[in-house]
């Protein structure tokens, strides 16, 4: 078509300007967004760790461990873990006892799962008294030999949790990420 040059030029210019504007925008907003992420991560560290006197940051292998002390004893540690969910990356903050045998807490830092279905792993409006019930299940859960899940029934073992109906893949992803990263972090820590 004789129009082809015009088509190419117009589309190229529009997308170039769009890309330029967005690059500028990113430079402007990135610092603030990173700061928010830091805040969310820091409060998550405190939430997943048990009562403690102080927290020390230690890097080992691929992980940054937040070690909780009571007096001079290390009692627990927290670390970040991520993996693929149903349609987005799930980022978790995991807290475990110092021997990695029990989970002291687990919190979702970021997810973009299907609204109303997958998002129930973080916020289930149907359970008004406790919309965060899914992640609460992991508190006090034993980790060996591995964490498992069950559907449509109450968990029967101290390593088992209940998956959310309609959000099975998201629920299973959380379990998988926990199993995988608890094992890897344990190896990195040297426990």
């Amino acid at each position: 078509m004789s129009n082809t040059p015009k088509i190419i030029i117009v589309l190229t210019v529009i997308t170039l300007i769009s890309g330029g504007v967005l690059a500028l925008l990113d430079a402007f907003t990135r610092p603030r967004i990173e700061r928010h992420k830091e805040q969310v991560k820091n409060s998550a560290v405190h939430e997943v760790l048990p009562r403690n006197d102080r927290i020390n940051e230690v890097k080992k292998g691929d992980y940054t461990f937040y070690v909780a002390y009571r007096g001079n004893d290390m009692v627990a540690l927290a670390f970040e873990a991520s993996g693929g969910g149903y349609q987005s990356e799930l980022v978790l903050m995991i807290g475990v006892t110092i021997d990695f045998s029990e989970i002291t807490g687990a919190k979702i830092l970021a997810q973009l799962e299907t609204p109303g279905l997958g998002t129930k792993i973080q916020d289930d409006p149907a359970k008004k008294e406790n919309p965060g019930w899914f992640m609460e299940q992991f508190k006090g859960l034993k980790t060996q030999p591995q964490i498992t899940y069950i559907k449509n029934a109450k968990p029967s073992k101290n390593t088992e949790i209940e998956a959310i109906t309609g959000a099975t893949i998201s629920s299973v992803a959380i379990v998988r990420i926990l199993n995988e990263h608890i094992a890897k972090a344990k190896a990195a820590w040297g426990a």
């Binding site: 529009i14 504007v21 967005l22 925008l25 603030r32 928010h36 609204p115």
Partner: protein, 201 residues
Amino acid sequence: MKNKTAFQEFLKGLWDENPVLVSLLGLCPVLAVTVSAENGLAMGLAATFVLICSSFLVSLLRKVIPAQVRIASFIVIIATFVTIVDRFLAAFAPDISRNLGAFIPLIIVNCMILGRQEAFASKNGVGRSLLDALGMGVGFTLTLLVLSSIREILGSGTWFGMNILWSSFSPWAVMILPPGAFLALGCMIAGANWINRRNKS
């Protein structure tokens, strides 16, 4: 058809051609996001901002964009503005950003916005396109505000987070779940149709 006054161009988006109640456009975010008045208002304002900016640019460029690539051009323009909104919310209002979650990026495919570009902004002057966008945006936002207020008051007993019903009221949890959204929206559409029918006779 071209005899609308400037004010009528704006007004039609509020009632006669209300994008939600009459044109039934963009219902997915309408239903999903209106669990609280704050979320409904935020989504309405975000979509309105995108609509106004997109209509302005599309109308400005309407003689320049070749017809064969008009949809592609509209989408790039809309996506740019949506990304601006998305990043701004993430940076300056992270709680709202988290509540609206995946629905902010989904504004890109909100039929209302693409629909107005195709049906109006690409065929009319900048002034009229701005009025059209403003009217549609305000109509959209007001409708979201009403719907989300109904759902929040009946489903949580609060409005914008403030307790406003008597404490012995037991909230109807269904209202903040999908069935409640459909029920409330259905009643609103039925109500609008009834009012229109009465006014005609």
